[in-house]
């Protein structure tokens, strides 16, 4: 029998329910996997081993009493920008060193209510700003398949932990691809739900109109299960949607595994252009071919405003970030650098507390909102956003899901893009349009490059299209591969 840390979420849940294994054994297995590999991967920034073991013991007692809840005693990792009561919530930033959240995010509360054990905090790019987890104050996350390569970002810790069996499943956040891109780079499933599907209450805001929490898992079914637990209307987040519960996992149960008959898959010409790595293109097209063999129908579609998406995204995201990050000023919590007078204290604290990329984005966003520039930057970006939304609406008239690459390349080398922020930004070209449109998308592994690096396929669904998207993903899902 494989060790519990290697199991999928649904598998773990089922084996716990049938008393084949105890929560204690599962948690111990995950903790020992962390013990073995986290030093090298740098996926977790903190692990609460004792509390996790204590909660596992309590979960086993509850199960012995006949209690049942969907994730009773299952350890889950949480990205370090999602608040969990009593735990650090540093966003991988120096400015939040020492800060512990006095309250639970809504997703943390829902996971707890479902019986989950929130055993550790996962590494990320500072304030989720980055595509490689290299801007973290804790240092970069290594790709489990190759130590010289990045894990992607910003949810690099979540993706690496799940792919390397250091977590049964994890939560990440996706503002411009931060779940899907690291999932593609590390070889796991990453799901970015429809904007408003999952509460953002307790997610430390980067760009509020784009941020969304979602699962990173070892299988499509796992993503469905975790989504079922965390999704739903939240009175604390007025941007959540008042729609019926998902029951996504149950819906998947009713679908035969690799059955894509009747599914219309839109293939956008704009997602297969210069700059796309030949191996990524080959794996993506191969997956599409296989899908048509399983009964799906490929439809050529156009998303003409794709080329403006990165610019629009970096204006809107940084504008919102410039306000969202204003609260880190040394007055109430986190880092404070003593100085003469309040303005000086603000300046010194923020200079010492924020990393280069965060400063770059705050300055960019501040500029985009400044008097005299607002119309030509922020407002124009909002117009592009409307056009991109319209692109997708028109496309979904002709197809059920859209398929394409997640990122133009597989995982790149550590440090490769660090000196060239523009190149890093441009690598978000296939993921940011989804956030701008507020729709849902996922990354599902479809193969590996000659060098052995995983490549994911991106599937994009319309708003509220999660059930269709998951069903389609099931058709593309291959047998799970593990890094050695």
């Amino acid at each position: 029998m494989s060790s519990p840390a290697q199991w999928t979420l649904t598998e773990t849940r089922d084996r716990l329910a049938s008393r084949e294994v105890s929560s204690r054994e599962v948690v111990e297995s995950v903790l020992s996997a962390i013990e073995r590999r986290n030093r090298e991967l740098n996926a977790y920034v903190s692990v609460n081993a004792e509390a996790a073991l204590e909660e596992a013991r309590a979960a086993d007692e509850r199960r012995a009493r006949g209690e049942f809840s969907p994730l009773l005693g299952v350890p889950i990792g949480v990205k370090d920008n999602i608040a969990v009561r009593g735990e650090p919530c540093t966003c991988a930033s120096r400015i939040l060193q020492g800060y512990r959240s006095p309250y639970d995010s809504t997703v943390a509360a829902r996971l707890r209510a479902a019986g989950a054990i929130l055993l550790g905090r996962l590494n990320l790019d500072e304030f989720a700003m980055g595509s490689s987890t290299e801007t973290s104050v804790y240092g970069p996350v290594r790709n489990p398949w190759s130590a010289e390569h990045v894990a992607g970002g910003s949810s690099g810790g979540s993706a690496a932990a799940v792919a390397a069996d250091l977590a049964i499943a994890a939560l990440g956040s996706d503002t411009g691809g931060s779940i899907r891109q690291p999932a593609s780079f590390c070889g796991c499933v990453g799901f970015k739900p429809t904007y408003g599907r999952v509460s953002r209450y307790g997610l430390v805001a980067y760009a509020s109109s784009l941020d969304q929490i979602g699962p990173l898992t070892k299988s499509v079914r796992d993503a469905a299960l975790l989504l079922d637990v965390i999704a739903g209307r939240d009175p604390r987040d007025s941007t959540t949607l008042d729609v019926p519960g998902l029951a996504a996992e149950a819906a998947l149960m009713r679908v035969g595994a690799a059955d894509l008959r009747g599914l219309r898959i839109g293939v956008p010409a704009e997602y297969f252009v210069a700059g796309l790595d030949p191996e990524v293109e080959r794996l993506t097209r191969a997956a599409l071919r296989r899908a048509t063999e399983l009964g799906a129908q490929a439809v050529e579609i156009r998303l003409p405003h794709t080329r403006y998406a990165v610019a629009a995204y970096y204006l809107i995201a940084t504008a919102e970030a410039s306000a969202n990050l204003a609260r880190y000023d040394g007055v109430r919590y986190g880092l404070r650098v003593a100085a003469d007078g309040i303005l000086d204290m603000y300046g010194r604290t923020r200079a010492a507390g924020f990393g280069l990329e965060v400063k770059r984005r705050i300055i960019l966003g501040t500029h985009a909102l400044s008097a005299g520039y607002y119309d030509q930057y922020y407002l124009r970006a909002q117009k592009v956003r409307t056009l991109i939304r319209a692109d997708f609406a028109a496309a979904f008239e002709r197809c059920d899901v859209i398929a394409g690459p997640v990122a133009p390349t597989p995982a790149f080398r550590l440090g490769e893009h660090l000196d060239d922020p523009l190149k890093m930004y441009l690598s978000d070209v296939y993921t940011v349009p989804v956030n701008l449109a507020g729709i849902c998308a996922l990354s599902v592994p479809v193969g590996r490059t000659a060098a052995g690096l995983p490549v994911g396929l991106q599937l994009i669904g319309p708003a509220m299209g999660e059930p269709t998207l998951l069903r389609a993903a099931l058709g593309f899902e291959r047998e799970r591969e593990r890094p050695s």
């Binding site: 309250y103 995010s105 805001a205 007025s238 306000a323 007055v331 919590y333 909102l369 400044s370 607002y374």
Partner: protein, 475 residues
Amino acid sequence: MSWTAAIGLEVHVQLRTASKMFCGCPTSFGAPPNTQVCPVCLGLPGAMPVMNLEAIRLTVMTGLLLGCRIATRSRFDRKNYFYPDMPKNYQISQYDQPLCLGGALDIGPAGARRSIRLRRIHLEEDVAKSLHYGNSSGIDFNRAGTPLMEIVTEPDLRTPEEAHEFLTELQRVLEYGRISECNLEEGNIRCDVNVSVRRGEDGALGTKTELKNLNTFRGVHRALAAEIRRQIAVLESGGRIVQETRRWNDAAGVTEPMRTKEEEHDYRYFPEPDLMPIELSAEQIEVWRAELPELPAARRVRFVAQYSLPEYDAGVLTADRGVADFFEATVRICGRPKSVSNWVMTEVLRFLSERGATIGHLPLTPAALAELITAVEEGRVSALAGKEVLADLLERGGSPEDVIRAKGLAQVSDDAAIAEWAAQAIAQHPGPAAEYRAGKAAALQFLIGQVMKLSRGRANPKLAAAELRKRLDAG
């Protein structure tokens, strides 16, 4: 040509809501520092605002009371600036899509009323309060996130007196509408003013200056008077007014420069992504319109028409919504509006002003006052004794009949007792008695007064007069 000032006001009003603008924390005043706070109003990482619908309703009610157009779609924006009292370093406010637009408030004496136009009314959140000690500062976040309504006028006011009157009238409207507690000591109403002067009544407005954070109406008046004097002096000596924000130094009685236009913040407003736009249906607005209270001016007119009260009485009674409500409740029970008006305007209002109390906190009920007035009108108790009874009711409440009985103040119509008091009065005051007999009828009033005094107000004055006349005419 003489100078004319053009004054505009920005009035910040704390709304009467139980909870804060974007969280469930209470808004009550005076709690120990930082005991009415939560992740939202502290601006902790990850916390999100949720709109307080009661604050929206109160702002719309204000707009309806002041004749504004209510926006069926409006939204919140972020106003960005760094300030230690502001937990997020941005304030959630409304920029270009406020809840209410236009409207007006009339001021000035009857016959010469003037309409002061409003530009807009919007909603925002209040900041925290800094407390400064010897060499450190503390911040109390209890107030942070309290709903604040901002009413912005056009520069239609011409004198500090008009500004003061506008604020007083506005306060009355806000009290009438139950919009705000309007407690000035607790900072419920705060003002920014802008003012410019120009020669004559017409022509373009002069360059304006702004005065921030005036917390009393008197302060507004004094600061405006000083600033207008300063501007005129500058211009008359050939100088130029610089557009700037100035601070009012109350102790010195002068305004001082604070920052010039170039130093103004760029607030970098943009739509608040954590909140959905506010959408109000026409039906919803009509439901709220139906709940509007009658405003003082309309009520004054109605009081004259419906109760045949003099203008003066109607004005006094309707100045305070609680007093007007009390008056009407009393009249509904006992009729006699003019009597009720007299009792309320003299005894009740005097008591309130002596105690600095409001009518809502009195133990006296409209039912008790109605019963007392009926007793006086029916002669069961004299007017003088009635006042003594009322004094008791104002202090302790209860039923007038009980007080009359307990104090033995029921009017005495017993012939023997009145005859006794009449005889005593004549015996003690032979002078006036002689004057009456000599034909000076007025002397009788003095003697009636003496009978009332001897009876401690209980004697029936008509019977007393008859008895005195009988005795004096006979003797």
